[in-house]
């Protein structure tokens, strides 16, 4: 599991949090675009993108499993 020893820099932690928020926003936006658009191919692309960004979000979220510093 990433960062099991609690070794993460402050900069990494701040960057991680900001990117998790960005990915979360992208998931919401791409889902919204998929519902709003009329072009079926573009709608499918938006759905795929939303799923893909959700995967990214979950993968990055694993890095927040940080053990307390001993």
């Amino acid at each position: 599991m990433p960062h099991a020893t609690g070794k993460i820099t402050a900069r990494e932690l701040i960057d991680l949090q900001s990117h998790l928020m960005l990915e979360s926003t992208l998931v919401g936006q791409f889902n919204h675009f998929a519902r709003e658009c009329t072009d079926p191919q573009f709608g499918q692309l938006c759905q795929n993108l939303a799923h893909s960004r959700m995967d990214c979000l979950q993968k990055l979220a694993q890095h927040t499993n940080i053990a307390p510093i001993q």
Partner: protein, 140 residues
């Protein structure tokens, strides 16, 4: 038609811009990341972002929603001229270094090693490095 109207074109351009921004943010984070695993994960995400942005661009391009301005012949000629000038300036500035390398006989890998050692070896510090016409460039 208002530009801010919700159309497929505007949504697609928004997707492209969002993915560009995501790639920019990821690049900054990779450059600041000390943890190897986190860095690798960011790099995978960045590659995925590049691929997705390309998909969105290709679709927009097929639909005629995204038409980049093509460079005209005048612009191309200007860049070609500037590049040629830049290359000539670089060659002129590299000239003395090339002559110095020839003077010290470093065309072979062994010679290159000697050249590199001369910067750190105190026994070689009395040498002068010459540039071209016999004038010492600097002495060590």
């Amino acid at each position: 038609m208002y530009q801010d109207q919700v159309t497929d074109k505007n949504l697609c351009l928004a997707v492209i811009n969002q993915l560009k921004w995501s790639a920019t943010c990821l690049t900054g984070k990779i450059l600041e990341c000390a943890d190897e695993q986190l860095r690798q994960d960011y790099m995978q995400l960045l590659n995925r972002t590049f691929a997705e942005q390309k998909q969105a661009f290709d679709l927009a391009h097929q639909r005629g929603w995204y038409q980049p301005m093509m460079a005209d012949q005048q612009m191309i000629g200007q860049v070609q001229g500037d590049t040629q000038k830049l290359m000539m300036e670089q060659q002129q500035s590299m000239g003395p270094m090339h002559q110095m390398a020839q003077y010290q006989g470093i065309q072979t890998p062994q010679g290159l090693n000697n050249y590199q050692q001369s910067f750190t070896n105190p026994n070689l510090q009395s040498q002068s490095i010459y540039v071209g016409g016999g004038q010492p460039y600097y002495s060590r």
